[in-house]
């Protein structure tokens, strides 16, 4: 039974959950990291993951029947990485513009604390 794990840094892992403990540390087997950009997604096989509990945001079981009918389109790894890079760039660009605009008006957005990744 495949499980989907969302991590605090935004990564999505899909794998077979083998073991847990009271801190929500997880052992995932045959894990695949899935990157989503828009409507496309790409899978990167990773192997065995041991995840520390504090980095887990949520964990859910994947319904194998429903897994097949998604509107998302799977693309190759290179493509999805490229898409991700593009998206990241765009975000950074818009962020930069925003900060500049605010600066012009005399306001400043406080820098996010390094602990807050989202």
């Amino acid at each position: 039974e495949k499980h989907l794990v969302l991590l605090r840094d935004g990564r999505t892992l899909i794998g077979y959950l083998r073991s847990i403990d009271q801190f929500a540390n997880l052992v995932l087997h045959q894990t695949v990291e899935r990157i989503h950009v828009g409507k496309k997604y790409g899978d990167i096989p990773r192997g065995i993951f041991v995840v520390r509990g504090e980095n887990v945001v949520l964990l859910g079981e994947i319904d194998l029947e429903k897994e097949s009918d998604t509107p998302l389109q799977q693309v190759s790894i290179e493509e999805i990485l490229e898409e991700q890079r593009v998206e990241l760039q765009a975000k950074q660009e818009s962020e930069r513009l925003k900060v500049q605009a605010l600066k012009e008006r005399g306001l400043s957005v406080p820098r996010a604390d390094t602990l807050d990744e989202y």
């Binding site: 077979y16 083998r18 073991s19 847990i20 403990d21 009271q22 052992v27 087997h29």
Partner: protein, 752 residues
């Protein structure tokens, strides 16, 4: 014994960690040197077993003494084998059946089975050495030597673990929470299941020695039910490093089991048999699959209950094994319902049901796979495939899963859910009320909401007192969770300066008002809670509760009005201060239901009197409308006289001739709350007028006058200025119709 004489725990050791360690060390010492291990017996047992082994070897494989083959195994494998066997042996040490079987192996070997079941004797011999070597430290070595002491076996097993307990209780670590020899974080050991049932509060595994065993779940790729074990071929499970060393161990055990026969003690036999027979049946034709000593151990706790079932099974003398082959699925499946019933009492009933459903499904699957008489090989192979597809499934034993969930449930334990988890409780109460209300209408199937039922622990009153020693001078200065020490003295100093600036005064006054509001709020929350407490309390306590409640209500009111007994209670000042603050208004709204009618009326009057002021202050907050509903409730209980005066207050009529415009009334009319309140009051008055036949004429007159004036004013005010009221009572028209003629009535209607 010498080690026992230097008990470190008798030192008043302030360092808890050390204390813990020392206890551990003492335990280990005991096991290796002290009462835990008995040297003599070990040697004897070793001799005996070595003899038997030799005999066995000679009967099967005349060449190659034990020693030589020991070298054939590489060193790493040797070590692995050692550890493994230790695992296995320690798990089933108390099984005199095994040992007896070992003793009697020579004479009663069923020849037919040998070739098919026993692995190469060479491999077996390789194991013997380390196996015997590992028997040394274990307590239950006694069982090897003395087969007639099986009853003591379990006591022995428990004894070292229990030994830990007295030690702890006799010398508690001072001022600290109970010490655990093994931190909570370690997964359960053998004795975990009975412990769960006994000690809900601490899933503390008691058997310290067992820590070593726990390293091994990981390498085992397979956690199967005994029935599944039937079907697993050896090759598919490679991926862990113990292919050879593992199997012979099992065959040894198996052999023991088979040969043990009639004299087997039911309980320990129970532990062994499902896996044993599963393996037996599986072995016909194929070499033994990977061992699962962990499984055997894991099943220990769960298997204890079905001992009875096994007794019958084992009562039969060892029939030739082949004939027993069809049996395993039978008793196996018969057993399974008993075995796989871990402690689920802490789970919610729905959850438990789902769990059992799933288990049932699994069981049915297995039954259909294994229970059919014919073509078992075929079935097995399909099942085999299933296992092949996911050899890593069920890495966690059911026991482990339960253990984790147990820990998490432990965190949810609470002695007073209303205290610990107020919002959750209230939320679900509301939901349930809604559902109940809906159901009354619909009368359909109830949608079951999964509600987490947390284990409820009775509140235990502990007044903790730090340990004191008699005859010592002074007290120990140890502070801990249960006995915190005061670090800072925070003293409140009030300022009494005469030359405070006005601003400061204002600020202080506001602060005081805020404090009053907070205090009153606490009282209010308490009062609101009384209903629930009332239901929960005993009969005798109830009057006391009611008294408390009344007192609190009085206090609240005093707070509101400004408690000044000497003072003539005419000043609304205090109340106004409270009402200026947003929270104050909400507070008043919530208090009103609890006040007596007179008190409530007072509040209303005060509000009405100062309404313009309040309206002005409320411009930003706009909280006044929240008062409307409780006000209307209050109004229903008011007599006419009060209502009249209310209207008077509201409208500030009659007014002096000097003021041409009624600012008060204007303000009231222009504010949503004010207008609504006015309407409410008027409608109430109308109700009273029309319903009550024997009102006093004086009051009547007053009312009539007022109404006349009010209507005149209403007519005067331009329509645009009128606010939009929250609700227009229906009898206003009839009210006005009494005092004005038709034309004006129409005008009024349009305005409204």
């Amino acid at each position: 014994q010498s080690l026992e004489e230097c008990p470190l725990d008798e030192d008043e050791d302030a360092f808890q960690a050390l204390g813990e360690e020392d206890e551990d060390i003492d335990q280990f010492n005991d096991d290796t040197f002290g009462a835990g291990a008995v040297d003599d017996d070990w040697q004897e047992a070793h001799e005996r077993l070595a003899e038997l082994e030799d005999k066995g070897v000679r009967s099967r494989d005349p060449d190659g003494p034990v020693g030589n083959d020991g070298d054939v195994l590489g060193d790493p494998e040797d070590a692995l084998a050692e550890r493994l066997t230790r695992l296995v042996i320690e798990g089933d040490l108390e099984d005199p059946a095994i040992m007896q079987a070992v003793h009697t192996r020579g004479p009663t070997q069923p020849g037919a089975l040998n070739s098919s079941i026993w692995d190469s004797s060479a491999v077996l011999q390789r194991i013997r050495g380390p196996l015997l070597a590992q028997e040394m430290p274990s307590v239950s070595v006694l069982d090897y030597a003395l087969p007639q002491r099986p009853p003591q076996a379990r006591e022995e097993e428990r004894d070292p673990s229990e030994r830990a307990l007295p030690r702890r209780s006799s010398s508690p670590i001072i001022g600290s929470p109970p010490v655990r020899a093994i931190p909570i974080g370690t997964p359960p050991k053998q004795a975990a299941i009975p412990n769960f049932n006994q000690q809900i509060l601490c899933p503390k595994p008691v058997h310290i020695r067992a820590t070593m065993q726990q390293r091994y779940p990981a390498p085992y790729g397979e956690r199967m039910s005994p029935n599944q074990l039937c079907n697993v071929p050896n090759s598919s499970l490679l991926g862990h490093p113990f292919p050879h060393s593992v199997s012979p161990v099992l065959t040894h055990l198996q052999r023991a089991q088979l040969l043990g026969g009639a004299q087997v003690k039911p309980l320990p036999a129970g532990r062994m048999s499902p896996s044993q027979f599963a393996r037996v049946s599986g072995l016909v034709g194929s070499p033994l699959p990977s061992v699962n000593p962990k499984l055997l151990q894991g099943r220990v706790g769960q298997m204890m209950p079905p001992a009875g079932g096994f007794r019958a099974f084992f009562g039969a003398p060892p029939a030739p094994p082949p004939s027993q082959l069809p049996h395993p699925p039978g008793p196996g499946s018969h057993l399974r319902p008993q075995m796989f019933r871990p402690d689920t009492t802490h789970l919610h009933p729905q959850h438990r049901r789902l769990l059992h459903q799933r288990q049932q499904q699994n069981r049915n699957q297995h039954r259909s796979l294994n229970g059919s008489g014919g073509d078992r090989g075929g079935h097995r192979s399909s099942h085999q495939e299933q296992i092949c597809k996911d050899p890593y499934a069920n890495l966690m034993l059911q026991r482990e899963k339960d253990w984790v969930s147990k820990i998490q449930m432990m965190q949810l334990q609470s002695t007073d859910p209303y205290l610990d988890d107020y919002y959750y409780q209230n939320y679900f109460q509301k939901l349930e009320k809604l559902a109940a209300a809906e159901e009354v209408h619909r009368d359909g199937p109830k949608k079951e909401r999964t509600k987490l039922i947390t284990p409820q622990v009775a509140k235990l009153e502990h007044t903790y007192k730090p340990v004191q020693f008699e005859g010592s001078l002074g007290k120990l200065t140890v502070s801990s969770v249960n006995n915190p020490r005061k670090m800072i003295d925070a003293v409140v100093t009030s300022r009494s300066e005469d030359d405070e600036t006005k601003e400061k005064q204002v600020r202080d006054k506001r602060r005081q008002t805020l404090v009053t509001i907070e205090k009153t709020y606490s009282l209010l929350l308490d009062v609101e809670d009384y209903e629930r407490r009332y239901l929960l309390s005993l009969e005798g306590e109830r009057p006391a509760l009611m008294g408390e409640r009344k007192q609190k209500i009085c206090d609240m009111y005093d707070n509101l009005r400004g408690k000044a007994p000497g003072q003539d209670r005419l000043s609304d000042d205090h109340f106004m201060q409270i009402m200026c603050i947003r929270k104050g208004k909400r507070l008043v709204a919530r208090i009103l239901p609890f006040l007596s009618p007179e008190q409530a009326a007072e509040v209303l009057m005060a509000t009405a009197r100062n309404l313009p002021f309040l309206i002005k202050k409320d411009a930003q907050d706009e909280v006044l409308p929240c008062l409307l509903r409780p006000f209307s409730h209050v109004l229903y209980h008011l007599p006419l006289g009060t209502v009249t005066s209310l209207v008077q207050q509201l409208t500030n009529l009659p007014q002096s001739a000097a003021a041409p415009t009624n600012l008060h009334l204007t303000a009231v009319l222009q504010n949503k709350f004010g207008l609504s309140l006015l309407y409410l009051v008027l409608s109430r008055g109308e109700e009273l007028q029309s319903s009550d036949t024997n009102t006093e004429p004086i009051q009547d007159n007053q009312w009539t006058e007022l109404m006349l004036m009010a209507t005149r004013e209403l007519l005067r005010i331009p329509q645009g200025a009128l606010a939009k009221p929250m609700s227009i009572p229906s009898n206003l028209i009839s009210l006005f119709s009494r005092y004005v003629d038709q034309q004006k009535l129409n005008l009024l209607e349009t305005k409204l």
